[in-house]
Each structure stands twice: as structure tokens, then as C-alpha cells.
């Protein structure tokens, strides 16, 4: 077993695979209207667009509503235990680097109980797509607040409102030395699909936060920037090499706040702000990504798309670089005879 062969290189099917060919025969069991449906749809479309071989694609999940996704895919899948998907996926990838491994996690799954495994999968840069379905709530267990819930979230376990600052999934990922960090919205299919494709193309750990609406326990938490009426004004789609502009007229953007290390929203053409003053997105700049990750409504638009992408050698490739192929293995007979021995006659 040696270097990763990109799945694409396997003999292409005569009939191109359609999105529905990536759907399993199992009945989808999320609440009507759940954002998970949209993400499932986008995932199947992504694989179809890339003609990903089903037999080489694996979805690994923990436990939660989000974690049900693998059952609905016609690929290989493993619905594991709460919080451990990144660790299990690491084992899958190391055991067979030819597999294309996706990790599906909820915010509780991936950042609460599973925070440490997410952290180290990112740090090691294992070639996985880690997709975080962030609904800022524990859905499957009926609505308790999660580490991404806003302060004051009323829930069965916080009737007077939750305490403590939420974790920013992207800041966390960048702090963990992640090499690919992106964001998308469940219902914005084409953007979501673009991000998922970029994540898959990226060799190494790619971390994607998807804002997912839980209609039952946290309905509308993201409306501030996902509501059709406001989304253009409250979302900033980051594109590498292009100025960080947003808004209906694409005339508002981010400029460096004078004096300090920080960004501010400015309108091009207003009080002396020129297009050149707007920061041009450089997805290879970690510091910029860290700043963009922390921006949030109402003062700032939510930055979506690929915030950071700067590939480096992957853990799985390096691990296997020092391992010989099966044929070269020393046979056990001689192995046992290594070192000092003596004969009794």
C-alpha cells in the first residue's frame, strides 16, 4: 500500500452516475424541513459532478441527526459513536489511503465530545473532508445548547439561557493548524457544492462549516444572514484574488482599520474609499483567514466560501512513505531470527 491514487483514475463507468445513484435505498428520517436534507442533496450532487466512484467513497459519522447522513448514501458508510468519527476516519484512511473519506459531524459531535479528535485530525493533516453541520444545538437529544450556541440560548438544559461564549468553528480549526477552512449555508446549493468540491480536491484535512437550520429546536438562528431578503447584504463570498466585496451593489467591502490590526466595513466611493482600499482575498494567508473567521453580523457580514487553503504534505502519505509494499515484507521465519541466537544440539 503506497501513495494515494486519486479515485478519479479508476476505470470510469460507461453510464455517468447521477445524484440519485449516490442515494441508498433507506428512507430519509429527518424532521420535515430540516437543513440536513439540503446538505444531503448537495453532497450527492457533488459526488455526481465529480463522478466519484462509489466503491472508493466512505462516509464516517458520529452520532446525532447530522450523523445519520451515511445511511442515505449508496457509498460505503460507518455510523460510529458520538464524537469519534475523526479518529475512526483516520484509521480508515491509514489502512487504505486509496479511499476518499468524508467525516460528517454535528456541532456537539465534532466540537463538544469530539473536539479533541477534530483538533488532532486537523493538526496531523490527515486527508479527510471534515464537514461540520452546525445548527448551534443538540438536535437528536432534543435541543440542549451546544458549544456553538449563542449566549442566552434557552434550552431544556438552560431554561434561563445558556452561559459562556460560543466556539467559532473556523477560529478553532485555524488555531489547530488546519490547511483548508471553508464555510457554506445549507440552502445555498451551488455555493455549498462549490465548497464541497474544493474540500474534496484539497489533499489533506479540509474543514467545512455548514450553517444548518434545525427547524425544530433552533429554527432561524442564521436568518440574520441567510434570510433571502438580507443574504446579499449580510454574506461576503470570499474568492481568492478578488477584493472582499459584498452587498447588492457589490460596493461595500472590508478595509484595514487604521491604526490597529483589524478590518472595518467601508463603502467604495464613499468618504474617499477606493476599490484599492478593499482587501484582496488571499486564501493562503492564515492571519487574514483568522480575521475573516471572527467577523460576524450585525457589524460585519458573515464571510463564506474558502477562507483558507494552503496545502502541505499529508499525514497518511508520510506514514505510508516509510512502509514497504506487501511483496517486500521480510518473512516471519527470518524476522524471528534477527539478533543474537544460539543453538542447542
Amino acid at each position: 500500500m503506497t501513495v494515494t491514487v486519486p479515485p478519479e483514475q479508476t476505470p470510469a463507468k460507461t453510464e455517468p452516475l447521477k445524484p440519485k445513484d449516490y442515494a441508498s435505498d433507506q428512507e430519509v428520517r429527518w424532521c420535515p424541513g430540516c437543513g440536513d436534507y439540503a446538505i444531503l442533496k448537495a453532497t450527492q450532487k457533488t459526488l455526481a459532478d465529480l463522478q466519484a466512484p462509489r466503491e472508493k467513497t466512505v462516509f464516517i459519522s458520529g452520532i446525532g441527526c447530522a450523523a445519520r447522513l451515511p445511511y442515505y448514501m449508496s457509498t460505503y458508510g460507518f455510523h460510529t459513536i458520538h464524537g469519534r468519527a475523526p479518529a475512526i476516519a483516520t484509521g480508515v484512511k491509514l489502512a487504505n489511503p486509496e479511499l476518499d473519506v468524508w467525516v460528517i459531524m454535528g456541532d456537539g459531535d465534532g466540537l463538544s465530545i469530539g473536539g479533541n479528535h477534530t483538533l488532532h485530525a486537523l493538526r496531523r493533516n490527515v486527508d479527510l473532508q471534515l464537514i461540520l453541520f452546525n445548527n448551534e444545538i443538540y438536535g437528536l437529544t432534543k435541543g440542549q445548547f451546544s458549544p456553538t450556541s449563542r449566549p442566552g440560548t434557552r434550552s431544556p438544559s438552560s431554561p434561563e439561557g445558556s452561559i459562556s461564549e460560543p466556539l467559532s468553528p473556523l477560529s478553532f480549526a485555524l488555531g489547530a493548524n488546519a490547511r483548508f477552512v471553508a464555510r457554506a449555508v445549507d440552502t445555498q446549493q451551488s455555493d455549498l457544492i462549490d465548497v464541497l468540491k474544493r474540500a474534496r480536491q484539497h489533499r489533506g484535512a479540509s474543514f467545512v462549516e455548514v450553517f444548518q437550520n434545525c427547524v425544530v429546536f433552533n429554527d432561524g438562528v442564521f436568518d440574520e444572514f441567510t434570510d433571502k431578503k438580507v443574504s446579499v447584504d449580510m454574506q461576503l463570498p470570499a474568492r481568492h484574488g478578488e477584493p472582499l466585496l459584498f452587498g447588492k451593489e457589490k460596493n461595500r467591502g472590508l478595509k484595514i482599520a487604521d491604526g490597529c490590526f483589524g478590518l472595518e466595513v467601508a463603502t467604495v466611493g464613499e468618504n474617499g474609499v477606493a476599490l484599492d482600499d478593499i482587501v484582496v482575498h488571499d486564501e493562503t494567508n492564515r492571519s487574514l483567514a483568522m480575521m475573516l473567521a471572527t467577523l460576524a453580523p450585525p457589524q460585519f457580514p458573515m464571510v463564506v466560501g474558502v477562507l483558507f487553503c494552503s496545502p502541505s504534505d499529508t499525514f497518511d502519505r508520510q506514514v505510508h512513505a516509510i512502509e514497504p509494499v506487501a511483496s517486500e515484507l521480510e518473512d516471519i521465519h527470518s524476522l524471528l531470527r534477527r539478533g543474537r541466537t544460539w543453538t542447542v544440539v
Binding site: Y76, I88, A95
Partner: protein, 625 residues
């Protein structure tokens, strides 16, 4: 068979002995483990049977001279079978007062003490809490004391090699080794070669150490030794089967056994672990065998280590994870997933003294309950245990066989003693090793991932990457006939019973329980598991030589038990179960067979002494009168 001693130049009468027990004891910094290991090498090469017991402190480097900083290495060698590292010492090497203080209790009356007088300074004496110097007062009267200024003798021996005072002193252990090799009539070639290799880059250091070694040997040779005490021994070759031998620690044997097992299954091995005493040595040994078809993953914690191994098994490798008690506890939930999804997994537990952090470097057998019962819900798994360092090899192969044949996690129990203890091993021929190639699952009409082999009840193992076998598995209950999620009550009952039957069925695929020593019926059966093998075996032998109807039964398969075990136990008037815990196997035997088995329990972080087991058997016999 001729005596192997290089005959000394002048006629010095050496005492002929069947077996000798020597313990090298000194400061953590004194290199006693190295000394013992080299002595072991030379002894093995002399053709003696042997058993060793390294015993070092929990602190990395405890302050010099303190009692808790004492590091010791014990070796028991002889011309007869050796099963333990020995109850009583014939020779105690004490490099400083603390070493004497801590170890004197184990020296037999009349035994020899070799002490470095230079180390018995006031400072060291008070550190070891001696009011007066034992080498000068008469407290050591019951023993034969050889007082030598090893420090000066060493300095002299190495003075020509221009080492710093500190470095020169480092050779003290080699001087001592040389002397002890001479005293027990061993060769020193292997050690010289080893030193040359080890210090290839520092030739002076190599030369100095070799000089010290030779000086120590010469010191005995040229009979500068006190004439009033017996100082030389000869020990005949052990009468062992012919063949190619090497010494192995339990850890080495276990590592090779795991590799041999995976080769037998025709699969790669994935080893996921997180360092912990005394399990780390296995991680270290395997890390040096990466090129043997082993993927090593040092995870962020024990949970991730187990989970990664499970993921690897899902992908077609043999997942192995290793830890000791506290770490194994953390893996329990993940192991439940492997039980529910029926994936192979070998769980190696190098047991240590607990509860909690306990005594990390001390041995114990107290994780049997955890292995057999320590998971949520009805979650049965096979549990097997190694009895000796060399037995680790066979048990490891068997663990892989059970895991891959029955698609189940398997607990392999070893302990801190076995992990570090060494003994000679008749190296098996590669062709004599078992074969149990795993059959490839291929696409078939109506395939589903929980199709079972009617005999083993094991499910198929369809590998990701195979077109046509795409499937989903998980920890939720699944329909027995499709593998799809099912909340049907009757199905849960059926699946729970299936999982239980599959493991219970293993009893039909393992050898019947044999009797390690003695008849199949009698007055007392002494039942052991794991590293208690040695002391039990010796104790039973002693009593049988005395004519008692005692037998030794050593259980390798702790769950499920061999089919004939109950019947076997009922053939004895009393059943004694010595364990290094408060009584765990004994509980299992009582519930399984309703036999009034009785525990003999030692929870001191140390192996049983033969005498302790013998005493327990004796009183049991007396009560039978």
C-alpha cells in the same frame, strides 16, 4: 554433557549448583538493568534455562541514593526448568546502601552480598536511613559479605582511557558484571561485542567499559577474593530440547506473535496506541517493526487509538490497540461499537497495579473483571491470557485468529511482569506457524453486511474499495436479515442472542482444558491464569514431590471457558485460585460451575513467591485431613 565453565588457571573449588538467583541492585543511574540484561545474555548462551524480573522505580530518575530510587534486576538460572525469577536470592549485588536496605529482606540466610564500600558514605547511609554502617556493625552476620571498593577498582581499571571522573564511574556496573560473570562461571564475549557495537562512535568509552569488565573478571580469576567464603559456582547446562534459541521478553514475543498472526490471516496490521506504563514497550518494539506490514499510530488518547484501530478493521486491516487498565477503561465504549458492528479488534492489556494510577510500574492481574464484564449492555467478547514471556507469542497469534475468524474484539491479557520478564525461547520454524487466511467477501445476489457463516456465526467482512459491496454499518441495532436499522423488539432479542451465541460457540473451537502438572482428579486443583503460572507450577511440583495429590491447571481461555473445565474442577476436593487481585477468576468459576473455588490473593504489586503458593496449598491439604 560437559560443564561449561572456562576452567580457572589455578584450582579454586567452585560449588556445583542446580540453580542460582542473583539480584543486581543499585541507583536508577547505576545501569543495573543493562547489567542484568547482559548477564542474561551470557547465561542464555551458556545453555542454562532462566527467568528474569526487572524492577525499576516509577520516577524517571529519582534522586540518587534514595530507597525509592533503587533499580533492580533479578535473574534465576539453572540446569533444570526455571519457571520463576526465584523466591530467595543467593547473591545480592548492592551498589549503595539504599539498594542493600530495600533488597536485603529477599536474601537467603547464608547468601552472598557484594557491596561497593565506596558508596557507603555517611550521606548515602542517612539517605537510606541506616543509623550505622551495616558493613561495619554486625547486622549482616547471617550473610556472607564481600566488601570491595568497586569504585576505586573501576577507576584504576579505566584510568588510561582519559575519561572524566563521572564517565569513569559509569563503568562500575561493567566491573561488577565482570566479577559476577566470573563468580558464576559465565563467559563475557557477548558483552564485549555488545559494548563495541553500542559505543562504536566513542571507542574510548567502549575500551574503558571492556577494561572494567575484564578487570572485574580478572579480580575473581586471580583470586583476590576473600578465601573464607565460597565465591565460585558452576551451573550445568539445562537439559532443553535441541534447536535454535534466543532470549525474549514478553513484549518482544507479543509483538512478533501479533505480526505472525496477521501474516497467518494474510492481512496488514494496524496498531493504534497511546503511551502508558507498562504497555509502552509494545508500542516501542512495534515502532521498530514498521517495515513488517505494521502501521503504527500513536493517537491523541486511548479512545482515538481504539477508534482508529476499529476504523482500520472496517477498512480491512487487523486493528490492534494496546494499553493498561486506565487506558483500557477509556476504550470500553469504542469496543462496544466493534462488538455491535462485529469488527475484528485485538485489545492488549498490560495490567498494572491499581485502582486509578495506582502503582504504574508494579504488576497485578486485577483487570479480568474489566475484560469480561466491563462494558455497557450485553457485550460478550473472548478473553485470553498469556502465562509466560514466550507464551505471549502463541497467545498473540491466537488472539488474531479469534478476532478475524469470529469478527469480534478479543482481549489479550498480559501484565507488567510478563512485559519485562525474559526467558530463552526455542524459535519456531516459520513453516510450523498456523495459517488462517481470511476469505475475501465477494458480491453476491442479496448481499448484506450481516450475512453469517452458519458454523462460526461470524458476519462477512466486505471491504471498502470493492465495487458491489457498498454498505453502511453502525452502532444502532440492525435487522438480522438485512443489516438495516431496526427497532423491532423481537429482532433485538434475536441479535443479542446471536452475538452471545457467536462468542459462546468459540468454546467449540479451542482446545479442551489440559492439566499443566498432575492428574485429572485429586485432592487440590490449583487453578491459575496469566503470569502466576511460574510460581504455581513450582509450588505444585514441590508438593507433588512430597507425594501430595495436587494438580496445576492453567487457564488460557478465560471467556468462554473450555468445554470440559467444569467437569475437570469437580474432580478435585478443593479448588484453589491464586491471583494477583482480590479474587476475580474465582468469582467467574463459582458462578459458571457452582464449584466452591477459593481464592489465594496477593495484591502487593509483585509476583507470588513459590513459597507463598506452596504454603496456601499445604494448609488446604491439612484442612482436608
Amino acid at each position: 554433557m560437559s560443564v561449561q565453565t572456562p576452567s580457572p588457571p589455578h584450582a579454586l573449588q567452585r560449588e556445583q549448583r542446580d540453580a542460582i538467583v542473583i539480584r543486581f541492585a543499585g541507583d536508577s543511574g547505576d545501569g543495573m538493568q543493562l547489567t542484568g540484561t547482559q548477564f542474561t545474555q551470557e547465561t542464555a548462551l551458556m545453555g542454562n534455562d532462566l527467568a528474569t524480573f526487572p524492577d525499576y522505580p516509577a520516577e524517571i530518575r529519582a534522586p540518587a541514593g534514595t530507597t525509592f530510587g533503587v533499580s533492580a534486576f533479578q535473574i534465576h538460572f539453572g540446569s533444570t526448568d526455571i519457571h520463576t525469577s526465584g523466591d530467595e536470592l543467593d547473591i545480592l549485588v548492592a551498589m549503595n546502601p539504599a539498594a542493600l536496605k530495600v533488597n536485603l529482606g529477599d536474601l537467603r540466610v547464608g547468601g552472598i552480598i557484594v557491596a561497593d564500600t565506596a558508596a557507603f558514605t555517611q550521606r548515602n547511609l542517612s539517605k537510606a536511613v541506616f543509623d550505622s554502617n551495616p558493613l561495619e556493625d554486625d547486622s549482616l552476620a547471617p550473610f556472607q559479605v564481600i566488601k570491595l571498593n568497586i569504585t576505586d577498582l573501576t577507576k584504576n581499571a579505566v584510568k588510561d582511557f582519559g575519561l572524566g571522573a563521572k564517565e569513569a564511574l559509569r563503568s562500575r556496573n561493567m566491573w561488577t558484571l565482570g566479577l559476577l560473570l566470573w563468580m558464576s562461571g559465565r563467559d563475557r564475549k557477548a558483552t564485549i561485542e555488545w559494548l563495541e557495537k553500542k559505543f562504536a562512535r566513542q571507542p574510548d568509552v567502549a575500551k574503558a567499559n571492556i577494561a572494567a569488565l575484564n578487570a572485574g573478571h580478572a579480580f575473581g580469576e586471580t583470586a583476590e577474593m576473600p578465601s573464607d567464603i565460597v565465591v565460585g559456582y558452576t551451573v550445568r547446562k539445562a537439559d532443553v530440547p535441541p534447536g535454535l534459541y534466543r532470549t525474549v521478553t514478553g513484549t518482544e514475543a507479543l509483538a512478533w506473535g501479533l505480526i505472525a498472526g496477521c501474516r497467518a490471516a494474510g492481512l496488514r496490521m494496524f496498531f493504534g496506541s497511546y503511551p502508558i506504563t507498562p504497555a509502552s514497550p509494545l508500542l516501542h518494539v512495534l515502532s521498530n517493526l514498521k517495515r513488517q506490514g505494521v502501521t503504527i499510530f500513536q493517537a491523541e488518547d486511548e479512545i482515538a487509538a481504539a477508534c482508529a484501530a476499529i476504523g482500520a478493521s472496517f477498512a480491512g486491516s487487523v486493528g490492534v490497540t494496546s494499553s493498561s487498565g486506565p487506558g483500557i477503561a477509556l476504550k470500553a465504549e469504542a469496543i462496544g461499537l466493534a462488538i455491535s458492528t462485529e469488527l475484528p479488534l485485538v485489545v492488549v492489556n498490560s495490567q498494572r497495579a491499581g485502582p486509578s494510577t495506582g502503582l504504574p510500574t508494579k504488576t497485578e492481574q486485577s483487570d479480568l473483571y474489566q475484560a469480561v464484564y466491563g462494558r455497557n449492555a450485553d457485550a460478550p467478547v473472548p478473553v485470553i491470557a498469556a502465562s509466560s514471556p514466550t507464551d505471549c507469542f502463541d497467545v498473540a497469534i491466537e488472539a488474531v485468529r479469534l478476532a478475524t475468524t469470529y469478527m469480534t474484539p478479543v482481549y489479550l491479557m498480559t501484565d507488567g511482569f510478563l512485559a519485562n520478564a525474559a526467558e530463552p525461547w526455542l524459535i519456531p520454524d516459520g513453516d510450523d506457524l498456523p495459517e488462517f487466511k481470511v476469505a475475501k467477501t465477494v458480491p453476491t445476489e442479496g448481499f448484506h453486511p450481516f450475512q453469517r457463516d452458519p458454523d462460526t456465526l461470524a458476519r462477512v467482512w466486505p471491504l471498502p474499495g470493492t465495487p458491489g459491496l457498498e454498505h453502511r454499518i453502525g452502532g444502532l441495532e440492525k435487522r438480522h436479515d438485512s443489516g438495516n436499522i431496526s427497532y423491532d423488539p423481537a429482532n433485538h432479542q434475536k441479535m443479542t442472542e446471536l452475538r452471545a451465541d457467536k462468542i459462546a460457540g468459540i468454546a467449540n473451537d479451542i482446545p479442551l482444558q489440559d492439566v499443566a502438572l498432575g492428574e485429572h482428579t485429586g485432592s487440590v486443583a490449583v487453578v491459575g491464569w496469566g503470569s502466576t503460572y511460574g510460581p504455581i507450577h513450582q509450588a505444585v511440583k514441590q508438593l507433588r514431590d512430597g507425594g501430595a495429590a495436587v494438580s496445576h491447571i492453567q487457564i488460557r481461555y478465560l471467556h468462554p471457558f473450555p468445554r470440559n473445565l467444569g467437569e475437570l474442577l469437580r474432580g478435585f476436593q478443593r479448588v484453589l485460585v491464586p491471583e494477583m487481585n482480590t479474587g476475580q477468576l474465582v468469582t467467574m468459576l463459582r458462578s459458571e460451575y457452582l464449584v466452591p473455588a477459593e481464592g489465594v490473593n496477593k495484591i502487593a504489586g509483585q509476583p507470588f513467591k513459590v513459597a507463598e503458593v506452596a504454603a496456601a496449598i499445604r494448609s488446604a491439604l491439612e484442612e482436608l485431613q
